[in-house]
Assembly symmetry: C2
Homo-oligomer: 215 residues x 2
Protein backbone atom coordinates (compact mmCIF):
# COMPACT_ATOMS: atom_id res chain seq x y z
CA UNK A 1 0.00 0.00 0.00
CA UNK A 2 1.63 3.19 -1.15
CA UNK A 3 1.13 6.62 0.33
CA UNK A 4 2.51 9.69 -1.47
CA UNK A 5 5.06 11.68 0.52
CA UNK A 6 5.10 14.48 -2.04
CA UNK A 7 2.07 15.57 -4.04
CA UNK A 8 2.17 17.99 -6.97
CA UNK A 9 -1.01 19.88 -7.81
CA UNK A 10 -1.96 21.37 -11.18
CA UNK A 11 -5.04 23.46 -10.39
CA UNK A 12 -6.36 23.94 -13.92
CA UNK A 13 -9.72 25.01 -15.29
CA UNK A 14 -10.28 28.37 -13.60
CA UNK A 15 -11.01 30.17 -16.86
CA UNK A 16 -13.30 27.46 -18.17
CA UNK A 17 -15.12 27.46 -14.83
CA UNK A 18 -15.60 31.23 -15.06
CA UNK A 19 -17.03 30.99 -18.56
CA UNK A 20 -19.36 28.18 -17.53
CA UNK A 21 -20.60 30.40 -14.71
CA UNK A 22 -21.17 33.46 -16.87
CA UNK A 23 -18.10 35.35 -15.65
CA UNK A 24 -15.16 36.82 -17.51
CA UNK A 25 -12.29 34.36 -17.85
CA UNK A 26 -10.00 36.33 -15.56
CA UNK A 27 -12.58 36.28 -12.78
CA UNK A 28 -12.11 32.53 -12.30
CA UNK A 29 -8.77 32.54 -10.52
CA UNK A 30 -9.93 33.97 -7.24
CA UNK A 31 -12.35 31.05 -6.88
CA UNK A 32 -9.31 28.78 -6.70
CA UNK A 33 -8.15 30.22 -3.37
CA UNK A 34 -10.54 28.38 -1.08
CA UNK A 35 -9.75 25.01 -2.73
CA UNK A 36 -6.01 25.67 -2.23
CA UNK A 37 -6.51 26.08 1.49
CA UNK A 38 -8.83 23.07 1.72
CA UNK A 39 -6.28 20.90 -0.02
CA UNK A 40 -3.48 22.05 2.27
CA UNK A 41 -5.53 21.10 5.32
CA UNK A 42 -6.35 17.68 3.85
CA UNK A 43 -2.65 17.06 3.20
CA UNK A 44 -1.78 18.06 6.77
CA UNK A 45 -4.52 15.78 8.13
CA UNK A 46 -3.46 12.73 6.11
CA UNK A 47 0.28 13.18 6.68
CA UNK A 48 1.52 14.27 3.27
CA UNK A 49 5.04 15.61 3.84
CA UNK A 50 5.43 17.93 0.86
CA UNK A 51 2.94 19.71 -1.39
CA UNK A 52 3.78 21.66 -4.54
CA UNK A 53 1.28 24.00 -6.21
CA UNK A 54 1.66 24.95 -9.86
CA UNK A 55 0.93 28.67 -9.55
CA UNK A 56 1.78 30.28 -12.88
CA UNK A 57 4.48 29.96 -15.49
CA UNK A 58 6.57 32.24 -17.64
CA UNK A 59 4.54 30.82 -20.56
CA UNK A 60 1.29 31.88 -18.88
CA UNK A 61 2.39 35.51 -18.65
CA UNK A 62 2.13 35.78 -22.44
CA UNK A 63 -1.65 35.75 -22.06
CA UNK A 64 -3.79 38.88 -22.12
CA UNK A 65 -2.69 41.42 -19.55
CA UNK A 66 -5.94 41.36 -17.62
CA UNK A 67 -5.58 37.60 -17.16
CA UNK A 68 -1.92 37.81 -16.18
CA UNK A 69 -2.78 40.41 -13.55
CA UNK A 70 -5.62 38.27 -12.23
CA UNK A 71 -3.68 35.02 -11.83
CA UNK A 72 -0.68 36.87 -10.39
CA UNK A 73 -2.92 38.48 -7.78
CA UNK A 74 -4.55 35.13 -6.97
CA UNK A 75 -1.13 33.52 -6.46
CA UNK A 76 0.03 36.32 -4.18
CA UNK A 77 -3.14 35.90 -2.13
CA UNK A 78 -2.71 32.12 -2.02
CA UNK A 79 0.84 32.39 -0.71
CA UNK A 80 -0.19 34.91 1.94
CA UNK A 81 -3.01 32.59 2.96
CA UNK A 82 -0.63 29.63 3.31
CA UNK A 83 1.71 31.81 5.37
CA UNK A 84 -1.03 32.02 7.98
CA UNK A 85 -1.07 28.24 8.40
CA UNK A 86 1.43 25.79 9.89
CA UNK A 87 3.79 25.20 7.00
CA UNK A 88 7.40 25.40 5.81
CA UNK A 89 6.91 27.56 2.77
CA UNK A 90 9.04 28.16 -0.30
CA UNK A 91 8.22 30.11 -3.46
CA UNK A 92 10.13 28.97 -6.56
CA UNK A 93 10.33 30.84 -9.85
CA UNK A 94 12.23 33.29 -11.99
CA UNK A 95 12.55 36.31 -9.71
CA UNK A 96 14.66 38.26 -12.19
CA UNK A 97 11.73 38.99 -14.49
CA UNK A 98 9.35 41.93 -13.96
CA UNK A 99 6.52 39.40 -14.08
CA UNK A 100 7.57 38.09 -10.68
CA UNK A 101 5.43 39.76 -7.97
CA UNK A 102 7.76 41.64 -5.63
CA UNK A 103 5.59 40.90 -2.55
CA UNK A 104 6.66 37.27 -2.80
CA UNK A 105 10.43 37.87 -2.85
CA UNK A 106 10.74 37.26 0.92
CA UNK A 107 9.51 33.69 0.43
CA UNK A 108 12.12 32.74 -2.18
CA UNK A 109 15.75 31.70 -1.61
CA UNK A 110 15.10 29.72 1.58
CA UNK A 111 12.23 27.89 3.22
CA UNK A 112 10.43 29.85 5.95
CA UNK A 113 8.58 28.26 8.85
CA UNK A 114 5.12 29.67 9.54
CA UNK A 115 3.09 28.78 12.61
CA UNK A 116 4.44 25.53 13.99
CA UNK A 117 5.71 24.48 10.53
CA UNK A 118 5.43 20.88 9.47
CA UNK A 119 4.40 20.22 5.87
CA UNK A 120 6.73 21.56 3.20
CA UNK A 121 4.75 23.70 0.80
CA UNK A 122 6.26 24.81 -2.51
CA UNK A 123 4.50 27.37 -4.66
CA UNK A 124 5.67 27.84 -8.25
CA UNK A 125 5.44 31.47 -9.33
CA UNK A 126 6.69 32.65 -12.74
CA UNK A 127 8.22 29.19 -13.14
CA UNK A 128 9.58 27.91 -16.45
CA UNK A 129 10.82 24.39 -17.17
CA UNK A 130 13.48 25.84 -19.49
CA UNK A 131 14.51 28.33 -16.79
CA UNK A 132 14.66 25.45 -14.30
CA UNK A 133 16.85 23.26 -16.48
CA UNK A 134 19.11 25.99 -17.81
CA UNK A 135 22.66 26.37 -16.62
CA UNK A 136 22.77 22.90 -15.12
CA UNK A 137 26.21 22.52 -13.70
CA UNK A 138 28.69 20.05 -15.04
CA UNK A 139 27.69 16.76 -13.47
CA UNK A 140 30.10 14.00 -14.35
CA UNK A 141 28.35 11.43 -12.21
CA UNK A 142 25.13 11.63 -14.23
CA UNK A 143 23.30 10.52 -11.10
CA UNK A 144 19.69 11.35 -10.32
CA UNK A 145 20.55 13.24 -7.14
CA UNK A 146 23.31 14.99 -9.06
CA UNK A 147 20.84 16.34 -11.60
CA UNK A 148 18.26 17.45 -9.04
CA UNK A 149 20.99 19.24 -7.07
CA UNK A 150 21.89 21.47 -10.02
CA UNK A 151 18.33 22.53 -10.88
CA UNK A 152 17.04 26.00 -10.14
CA UNK A 153 14.28 24.16 -8.23
CA UNK A 154 16.77 22.03 -6.29
CA UNK A 155 14.97 22.57 -2.98
CA UNK A 156 11.96 20.69 -4.33
CA UNK A 157 12.23 16.92 -4.00
CA UNK A 158 11.03 14.07 -6.24
CA UNK A 159 7.24 13.97 -6.66
CA UNK A 160 5.23 10.79 -6.03
CA UNK A 161 1.76 11.79 -7.18
CA UNK A 162 0.61 14.59 -9.46
CA UNK A 163 -3.07 15.51 -9.32
CA UNK A 164 -4.36 17.69 -12.13
CA UNK A 165 -7.82 19.22 -12.10
CA UNK A 166 -9.53 20.36 -15.31
CA UNK A 167 -9.38 17.13 -17.39
CA UNK A 168 -6.20 17.78 -19.35
CA UNK A 169 -3.73 14.91 -19.46
CA UNK A 170 -0.41 16.67 -19.72
CA UNK A 171 2.26 18.14 -17.44
CA UNK A 172 2.43 21.57 -19.13
CA UNK A 173 6.04 21.99 -18.09
CA UNK A 174 5.52 21.11 -14.41
CA UNK A 175 8.91 20.30 -12.79
CA UNK A 176 10.15 17.88 -15.47
CA UNK A 177 13.03 16.43 -13.44
CA UNK A 178 11.08 15.88 -10.21
CA UNK A 179 8.13 14.42 -12.13
CA UNK A 180 9.94 11.67 -14.05
CA UNK A 181 8.54 8.85 -11.89
CA UNK A 182 5.36 10.53 -10.64
CA UNK A 183 1.99 8.83 -11.03
CA UNK A 184 -0.45 11.10 -12.78
CA UNK A 185 -4.08 11.38 -11.68
CA UNK A 186 -6.51 13.59 -13.60
CA UNK A 187 -9.74 14.97 -12.13
CA UNK A 188 -12.48 15.73 -14.67
CA UNK A 189 -13.65 18.82 -12.79
CA UNK A 190 -12.50 22.42 -12.86
CA UNK A 191 -10.29 23.49 -9.95
CA UNK A 192 -12.83 25.90 -8.38
CA UNK A 193 -15.21 22.90 -8.13
CA UNK A 194 -12.68 21.04 -5.95
CA UNK A 195 -14.14 18.71 -3.35
CA UNK A 196 -12.30 16.67 -0.69
CA UNK A 197 -13.46 13.45 -2.40
CA UNK A 198 -11.24 14.34 -5.41
CA UNK A 199 -8.22 14.17 -3.11
CA UNK A 200 -9.32 10.99 -1.33
CA UNK A 201 -10.04 9.25 -4.65
CA UNK A 202 -6.57 10.17 -5.87
CA UNK A 203 -5.05 8.69 -2.70
CA UNK A 204 -7.11 5.51 -3.13
CA UNK A 205 -5.96 5.21 -6.74
CA UNK A 206 -2.34 5.80 -5.77
CA UNK A 207 -2.50 3.02 -3.17
CA UNK A 208 -3.15 0.52 -5.94
CA UNK A 209 -0.18 1.56 -8.06
CA UNK A 210 2.90 -0.58 -8.25
CA UNK A 211 5.65 1.96 -7.56
CA UNK A 212 8.94 0.96 -9.21
CA UNK A 213 10.79 4.27 -9.67
CA UNK A 214 11.83 3.15 -13.12
CA UNK A 215 13.26 -0.18 -11.97
CA UNK B 1 -8.60 19.47 -35.12
CA UNK B 2 -5.11 18.47 -34.00
CA UNK B 3 -2.95 15.77 -35.48
CA UNK B 4 0.24 14.68 -33.71
CA UNK B 5 3.42 15.18 -35.71
CA UNK B 6 5.52 13.31 -33.17
CA UNK B 7 4.25 10.35 -31.15
CA UNK B 8 6.11 8.80 -28.23
CA UNK B 9 5.35 5.18 -27.37
CA UNK B 10 5.81 3.47 -24.00
CA UNK B 11 5.24 -0.20 -24.79
CA UNK B 12 4.70 -1.47 -21.26
CA UNK B 13 3.20 -4.68 -19.86
CA UNK B 14 5.27 -7.37 -21.58
CA UNK B 15 6.11 -9.14 -18.32
CA UNK B 16 2.57 -8.95 -16.98
CA UNK B 17 1.31 -10.29 -20.32
CA UNK B 18 3.76 -13.21 -20.10
CA UNK B 19 2.62 -14.10 -16.59
CA UNK B 20 -1.02 -13.90 -17.60
CA UNK B 21 -0.25 -16.31 -20.41
CA UNK B 22 1.62 -18.81 -18.26
CA UNK B 23 5.10 -17.86 -19.51
CA UNK B 24 8.18 -16.71 -17.66
CA UNK B 25 8.31 -12.91 -17.33
CA UNK B 26 11.31 -12.58 -19.63
CA UNK B 27 9.51 -14.42 -22.39
CA UNK B 28 7.07 -11.55 -22.87
CA UNK B 29 9.35 -9.10 -24.66
CA UNK B 30 9.59 -10.92 -27.94
CA UNK B 31 5.81 -10.72 -28.28
CA UNK B 32 6.21 -6.96 -28.47
CA UNK B 33 8.03 -7.10 -31.81
CA UNK B 34 5.04 -7.59 -34.08
CA UNK B 35 3.12 -4.69 -32.43
CA UNK B 36 6.14 -2.41 -32.93
CA UNK B 37 6.09 -3.08 -36.67
CA UNK B 38 2.30 -2.73 -36.88
CA UNK B 39 2.45 0.62 -35.14
CA UNK B 40 5.20 1.88 -37.45
CA UNK B 41 3.09 1.03 -40.48
CA UNK B 42 0.03 2.76 -39.01
CA UNK B 43 2.10 5.88 -38.37
CA UNK B 44 3.41 5.83 -41.94
CA UNK B 45 -0.12 5.38 -43.29
CA UNK B 46 -1.64 8.23 -41.29
CA UNK B 47 1.22 10.68 -41.85
CA UNK B 48 2.89 10.84 -38.44
CA UNK B 49 6.27 12.48 -39.04
CA UNK B 50 8.25 11.20 -36.07
CA UNK B 51 7.87 8.17 -33.82
CA UNK B 52 9.88 7.47 -30.67
CA UNK B 53 9.91 4.05 -29.00
CA UNK B 54 10.88 3.70 -25.35
CA UNK B 55 13.10 0.63 -25.66
CA UNK B 56 14.88 0.16 -22.35
CA UNK B 57 16.50 2.36 -19.74
CA UNK B 58 19.61 2.33 -17.60
CA UNK B 59 17.20 1.81 -14.67
CA UNK B 60 15.75 -1.28 -16.34
CA UNK B 61 19.14 -2.95 -16.58
CA UNK B 62 19.20 -3.32 -12.80
CA UNK B 63 16.59 -6.07 -13.17
CA UNK B 64 17.42 -9.78 -13.10
CA UNK B 65 20.02 -10.70 -15.67
CA UNK B 66 17.75 -13.04 -17.60
CA UNK B 67 15.24 -10.20 -18.05
CA UNK B 68 17.89 -7.68 -19.05
CA UNK B 69 19.19 -10.07 -21.67
CA UNK B 70 15.68 -10.70 -22.96
CA UNK B 71 14.63 -7.06 -23.38
CA UNK B 72 18.02 -6.12 -24.84
CA UNK B 73 17.66 -8.87 -27.44
CA UNK B 74 14.09 -7.78 -28.22
CA UNK B 75 15.22 -4.18 -28.76
CA UNK B 76 18.06 -5.25 -31.05
CA UNK B 77 15.59 -7.29 -33.08
CA UNK B 78 13.11 -4.40 -33.19
CA UNK B 79 15.73 -1.98 -34.51
CA UNK B 80 16.85 -4.47 -37.16
CA UNK B 81 13.22 -4.96 -38.16
CA UNK B 82 12.66 -1.20 -38.52
CA UNK B 83 15.86 -0.96 -40.59
CA UNK B 84 14.14 -3.12 -43.19
CA UNK B 85 11.34 -0.58 -43.61
CA UNK B 86 11.23 2.92 -45.10
CA UNK B 87 12.42 5.07 -42.22
CA UNK B 88 15.05 7.57 -41.05
CA UNK B 89 16.31 5.73 -38.01
CA UNK B 90 18.21 6.88 -34.94
CA UNK B 91 19.09 4.97 -31.78
CA UNK B 92 19.57 7.15 -28.70
CA UNK B 93 21.10 6.04 -25.41
CA UNK B 94 24.20 5.75 -23.28
CA UNK B 95 26.62 3.93 -25.59
CA UNK B 96 29.49 4.16 -23.12
CA UNK B 97 28.04 1.53 -20.81
CA UNK B 98 28.58 -2.22 -21.32
CA UNK B 99 24.78 -2.58 -21.18
CA UNK B 100 24.53 -0.92 -24.60
CA UNK B 101 24.28 -3.62 -27.29
CA UNK B 102 27.22 -3.21 -29.65
CA UNK B 103 25.20 -4.31 -32.69
CA UNK B 104 23.27 -1.04 -32.47
CA UNK B 105 26.28 1.31 -32.44
CA UNK B 106 26.02 1.94 -36.20
CA UNK B 107 22.57 3.48 -35.69
CA UNK B 108 23.66 6.03 -33.07
CA UNK B 109 25.36 9.41 -33.67
CA UNK B 110 23.47 10.26 -36.86
CA UNK B 111 20.15 9.40 -38.47
CA UNK B 112 20.36 6.75 -41.21
CA UNK B 113 17.91 6.48 -44.09
CA UNK B 114 16.59 3.00 -44.78
CA UNK B 115 14.55 2.11 -47.85
CA UNK B 116 13.08 5.31 -49.21
CA UNK B 117 13.19 6.96 -45.76
CA UNK B 118 10.35 9.22 -44.68
CA UNK B 119 9.19 8.88 -41.09
CA UNK B 120 11.78 9.68 -38.42
CA UNK B 121 12.01 6.77 -36.01
CA UNK B 122 13.87 7.13 -32.72
CA UNK B 123 14.55 4.10 -30.56
CA UNK B 124 15.73 4.67 -26.98
CA UNK B 125 18.23 2.01 -25.91
CA UNK B 126 19.95 2.13 -22.51
CA UNK B 127 18.47 5.60 -22.11
CA UNK B 128 18.46 7.49 -18.78
CA UNK B 129 16.73 10.80 -18.07
CA UNK B 130 19.63 11.75 -15.75
CA UNK B 131 22.14 10.82 -18.46
CA UNK B 132 20.11 12.87 -20.95
CA UNK B 133 20.01 15.98 -18.78
CA UNK B 134 23.55 15.77 -17.44
CA UNK B 135 26.25 18.12 -18.65
CA UNK B 136 23.76 20.54 -20.15
CA UNK B 137 25.83 23.31 -21.60
CA UNK B 138 25.71 26.82 -20.28
CA UNK B 139 22.65 28.33 -21.83
CA UNK B 140 22.28 31.96 -20.98
CA UNK B 141 19.18 32.44 -23.09
CA UNK B 142 17.16 29.97 -21.04
CA UNK B 143 15.07 29.37 -24.16
CA UNK B 144 13.22 26.15 -24.92
CA UNK B 145 15.17 25.49 -28.10
CA UNK B 146 18.33 26.32 -26.22
CA UNK B 147 17.66 23.61 -23.66
CA UNK B 148 16.70 20.97 -26.22
CA UNK B 149 19.88 21.73 -28.20
CA UNK B 150 22.11 20.88 -25.24
CA UNK B 151 20.47 17.55 -24.38
CA UNK B 152 22.12 14.24 -25.14
CA UNK B 153 18.88 13.48 -27.02
CA UNK B 154 19.00 16.74 -28.97
CA UNK B 155 18.16 15.06 -32.27
CA UNK B 156 14.74 14.13 -30.90
CA UNK B 157 12.15 16.88 -31.23
CA UNK B 158 9.26 17.95 -29.00
CA UNK B 159 6.62 15.24 -28.54
CA UNK B 160 2.93 15.93 -29.17
CA UNK B 161 1.29 12.71 -28.00
CA UNK B 162 2.57 9.97 -25.73
CA UNK B 163 0.74 6.64 -25.85
CA UNK B 164 1.47 4.23 -23.03
CA UNK B 165 0.23 0.65 -23.05
CA UNK B 166 -0.09 -1.39 -19.83
CA UNK B 167 -2.33 0.93 -17.75
CA UNK B 168 0.32 2.85 -15.80
CA UNK B 169 -0.09 6.61 -15.69
CA UNK B 170 3.46 7.83 -15.46
CA UNK B 171 6.33 8.78 -17.75
CA UNK B 172 8.96 6.58 -16.07
CA UNK B 173 11.74 8.93 -17.12
CA UNK B 174 10.71 9.15 -20.80
CA UNK B 175 12.42 12.17 -22.43
CA UNK B 176 11.51 14.74 -19.75
CA UNK B 177 12.40 17.82 -21.79
CA UNK B 178 10.66 16.76 -25.01
CA UNK B 179 7.58 15.60 -23.07
CA UNK B 180 6.80 18.80 -21.17
CA UNK B 181 3.78 19.70 -23.32
CA UNK B 182 2.83 16.23 -24.54
CA UNK B 183 -0.70 14.92 -24.14
CA UNK B 184 -0.69 11.58 -22.38
CA UNK B 185 -2.95 8.72 -23.47
CA UNK B 186 -2.99 5.45 -21.54
CA UNK B 187 -4.18 2.13 -23.01
CA UNK B 188 -5.47 -0.37 -20.45
CA UNK B 189 -4.02 -3.34 -22.32
CA UNK B 190 -0.60 -4.95 -22.28
CA UNK B 191 1.66 -4.06 -25.20
CA UNK B 192 1.69 -7.56 -26.75
CA UNK B 193 -2.12 -7.27 -27.00
CA UNK B 194 -1.76 -4.15 -29.17
CA UNK B 195 -4.49 -3.65 -31.77
CA UNK B 196 -4.75 -0.92 -34.43
CA UNK B 197 -7.87 0.43 -32.70
CA UNK B 198 -5.70 1.46 -29.72
CA UNK B 199 -3.78 3.77 -32.02
CA UNK B 200 -6.87 5.12 -33.79
CA UNK B 201 -8.62 5.78 -30.47
CA UNK B 202 -5.57 7.72 -29.26
CA UNK B 203 -5.65 9.82 -32.44
CA UNK B 204 -9.38 10.48 -31.99
CA UNK B 205 -8.79 11.55 -28.39
CA UNK B 206 -5.90 13.79 -29.38
CA UNK B 207 -8.07 15.56 -31.98
CA UNK B 208 -10.31 16.81 -29.19
CA UNK B 209 -7.51 18.27 -27.09
CA UNK B 210 -6.97 21.99 -26.93
CA UNK B 211 -3.24 22.27 -27.63
CA UNK B 212 -1.73 25.35 -25.99
CA UNK B 213 1.97 24.46 -25.54
CA UNK B 214 1.87 25.99 -22.09
CA UNK B 215 0.35 29.30 -23.26
Amino acid sequence: MSFPQHIGVIPDGNRRWAEKNGLNKEDGYIYGLAPSLQLLKLCQKTGVEELTYYGFTMDNTKRKNVQTQAFTKACVEAVKMIAEEDADLLVVGNTESPKFPQELLPYTEKRTTFGSGGIKVNFLVNYGWHWDLSNLEENEKQSKKGIISTLKSKQISRIDLIIRWGSRRRLSGFLPAQSVYADFYVVDKYWPDFAPEDFYKALEWYKQQDITLGG
